[in-house]
């Protein structure tokens, strides 16, 4: 948690922790009240019940307060969601093709890999396609996921600040080997990435054009 692996990972975690915090307090309060009432008003201590049929101000209170809290939660969620879906200008597009039970990543010059290599600190836009059934591209560490549906293009984006590798899972059930449809996203620093990109382009005899601008590589 709070590893700052993508532009939205910390925001999602913080939102989650806020909601968990509020929920825990509410649950704790309710359970304390419940147990206290059961002990305090046990038949031994309180043989004489009082029939209280209701209380309108109280009903309004416990409608309005949750409503306000829920609207706050809704807003946080909506705001975080906008971060998750707003692809920055100039993001590099990588085409993802899912099939039972493997991922394939295609770079702008036609290079294809089964592991997703990306440069750090660079917005990457994934264009998602499926050849057969529904899949879902899920990078848990980035707190991001999008279904991959045949005959339909979905997009998702991320960028990641550190040189590291993370799991990519399939999150939509797709048959026998669904749980083995794992691969990795490997973030390389810019010059490393370009070196790799050049090599793999040569190997697959595709024309090499640098994906990143010169000055960024030199940084």
């Amino acid at each position: 948690m709070l590893q700052d692996t993508s532009p939205f990972s910390d925001y999602v975690d913080t939102t989650f922790l806020i909601v968990v915090g509020i929920s825990s307090l509410v649950l704790l309060g309710l359970m304390i009240a419940m147990i206290y009432f059961i002990i305090r008003y046990s038949r031994k201590r309180n043989p004489n019940p009082t029939n209280i049929e209701g209380n309108v101000p109280l009903e309004i209170t416990w409608t309005v307060i949750p409503l306000a809290l829920f609207m706050g939660m809704f807003y946080l969620g909506w705001h975080g969601y906008l971060k998750q879906i707003t692809v920055p200008e100039g993001a590099h597009v990588i085409k993802v093709t899912a099939r039972m039970w493997a991922w394939s990543f295609e770079y702008p010059n036609g290079v294809k890999t089964d592991t997703l290599y990306v440069p750090v600190n660079t917005p990457i836009k994934l264009s998602l396609h499926s050849l057969d059934v529904n899949h879902s591209l899920y990078i848990p560490e980035f707190r991001i996921k999008k279904d991959v549906i045949p005959n339909r293009e979905n997009v998702m984006w991320f960028q990641t600040p550190r040189v590291a590798s993370y799991d990519i899972a399939c999150a939509e059930y797709c048959g026998l080997q669904h749980s083995y449809m794992y691969t990795k996203v490997v973030a390389k620093d810019s010059s490393d990435f370009e070196r790799w990109y050049k090599e793999v382009s040569l190997k697959q005899s595709k024309p090499y054009l640098p994906m990143l601008k010169e000055e960024k590589v030199k940084e």
Partner: protein, 545 residues
């Protein structure tokens, strides 16, 4: 009505009919016998589905293969889902306890359409048997998950069509039961029982019945369309023929989300029924609880696409469905507040049904609060299709309605069978079930947030600790269930004779003998007071001792 107890008259269990043996049951139009038919058949499916669940948990004990192959695992979670949902938890409370109690609680001799009621059970059994048959047909049992998502459900070679047809037939059983209940509630309430003198369980059945009638036809037609697609390749959902798989998901959830409320509303009704009896005071906020059932039924019909937040919907869709999801939580929250307020200044006696209700409130609250977390869009994107979701709905379905069902079984057992059960084993069973359930499902929530996707045969090593805890929890839970069932079954024959009203309930079913006579009431009672009128205890405190 007190004369009923004095005259030795055969109760519904021993009444002579013109048929003998099992025929006197499976062709009976007595709502009480039909309730028992549902109870027995449903428990058979429940035990089967629990077995699948326990075996799945055992498989998850270690990464890689533990006891079964991936294909077996995939069919197990499919069957576990189909049986638990369509054969156990949807018919559970309404078909068993609704059938048995609805006429008794509103002071009627039977439901409005007794024959249709029997026919509904026959449809239920036909659907259930078809689901069982599909296991043994060549091709193997379905492996699509209970959601039958296309295109996978069109491509797989397993027996999807019999499973679809089973669900289709079960849907009709559900619609007809709903229709019957609505008519009965409208037409057959005892004189004096106006809408706001109805027991809250009846309110919940009424709300449920409307969802059953309005939403179930949609799943029926959707499943039929999948069948047509498989057989004839029309191109409705199949993307290779230009169909839209997302359309299927919309149609599926338009029913299947309201189905969640078909499941939970009667559970909420049971809690509202049992709490005041053991607190020996009237329920807090009767009308609020009644209206909240209706509003859950209404708003609950408009939130289906929150199951599809990662599918690539428009922002407008995301905004509206998330907002409505938060709104539908409000009436549920209000119910919980009113229940706890019902304990205030009561005179509480702890008995087994009451304990199940307390566990219900705790677990349903966790289910509800994790539901809020799922309603938060950005968090949903992360935990969608992970164990977090699985944990959430098991807290609601099992921790909530499942426990509501066990509460109902222990609360109405003396009325239904005329026997008392032993308290100590029931208490031990309750304790084990509560501990087991939380051990089983709480780790799901943690794993889910860590990124463990659902419907996974194998998993990464970092999740193992949680899987082990969860699997141990499943053993504790099952041990509790076994103790509960053994206790209840032994009590059928050996339990002490139950009095007419063992708990001091105020609703009408407690005014007839245990077990009730065939015709329920010799004279239709006249209702003057609300269902939870305990005012007499305020005046004469010595009775309470």
């Amino acid at each position: 009505m007190t004369t009923v107890a004095r005259t030795p008259e055969p109760d519904y269990l021993h009444a002579q009919t013109n048929r003998k043996g099992i025929g006197a049951w499976i062709f009976s139009t007595d709502h009480k016998r039909i309730g028992i038919l549902y109870l027995v058949s449903m428990l058979v499916f429940f035990i089967a589905a629990v077995t699948f669940g326990v075996l799945m948990r055992l498989e998850m004990l270690t990464p890689g293969k533990t006891i079964m192959q991936p294909q077996t695992y995939n069919t197990f979670f499919t069957l576990h889902g189909i049986m638990m949902i369509f054969l156990f938890i949807i018919p559970g409370l309404p078909a068993v306890f609704g059938n048995f109690l609805l006429p008794l609680m509103i002071g009627a001799k039977d439901v409005f359409f007794p024959r249709l009621n029997l026919f509904s059970w026959w449809l239920f059994i036909t659907g259930g048997l078809l689901a069982l048959v599909s296991l043994f047909l060549p091709g193997g049992p379905a492996d699509t998950g209970w959601t039958f998502y296309v295109p996978y459900s069109i491509r797989t070679t397993t027996n999807v069509i019999p499973a679809l047809m089973a669900a289709f037939i079960l849907g009709f059983s559900s619609i007809l039961t709903g229709l019957n209940f609505i008519t009965t509630i409208h037409r057959m309430r005892a004189p004096g029982m106006d809408w706001f003198k109805m027991p809250l369980f009846i309110w919940s059945l009424y709300s449920t019945a409307w969802i059953q009638i309005l939403a179930t036809p949609i799943i029926g037609i959707t499943l039929l369309l999948v069948t047509i697609e498989r057989l004839f390749g029309v191109g409705i959902f199949d993307p290779t023929l230009g169909g839209d798989p997302v359309l299927y998901q919309h149609l599926f959830w338009i029913y299947s989300h309201p189905a969640v409320y078909i499941v939970i509303l009667p559970g909420l009704g049971v809690v509202s029924e049992i709490l005041p009896v053991f607190a020996r005071r009237t329920i807090f906020g009767y009308k609020v609880i009644a209206y909240s059932s209706l509003s859950i039924a209404f708003i609950g019909s408009l939130v289906w696409a929150h199951h599809m937040f990662t599918v690539g919907m428009s922002n407008t869709g995301m905004f509206i469905f998330s907002l409505l999801t938060f709104l539908v939580s409000i009436p549920s929250a209000i119910k919980v507040f009113n229940w706890i307020a019902t304990l205030y200044k009561g005179s509480i006696k702890i008995e087994v049904p009451f304990l199940f209700v307390l566990a219900f409130i705790f677990q349903f609250s966790i289910g509800g609060l994790t539901g809020l977390m799922l309603g938060v869009l950005s968090v949903n994107i992360h935990v969608q299709d992970t164990y977090f979701v699985v944990g959430h709905f098991h807290y609601v379905m099992f921790g909530g309605t499942g426990f509501g069902l066990f509460a109902a079984m222990h609360y109405w057992f003396p009325k239904i069978f005329g026997r008392m059960y032993k308290n100590v084993p029931a208490f031990v069973g309750w304790l084990l079930m509560t501990i087991g359930l939380n051990l089983l499902y709480f780790p799901f929530l943690i794993m889910g947030y860590m990124g463990m996707p659902r419907r996974y045969y194998d998993y990464l090593p970092q999740f193992q600790t949680y899987h082990v805890i969860s699997t141990v929890g499943s053993w504790v839970l099952v041990l509790g269930i076994i103790i509960i069932f053994v206790n209840l079954i032994l009590s059928l024959k050996k339990g002490a004779k139950a009095p007419m009203n063992p708990w001091g309930g105020k609703t009408l079913e407690w005014t007839v003998a245990s077990p009730p006579p065939v015709e329920n009431f010799h004279e239709i009672p006249i209702v003057e007071k609300g269902p939870y009128d305990y005012s007499e205890y305020e005046i004469k405190p010595e009775i309470a001792k």
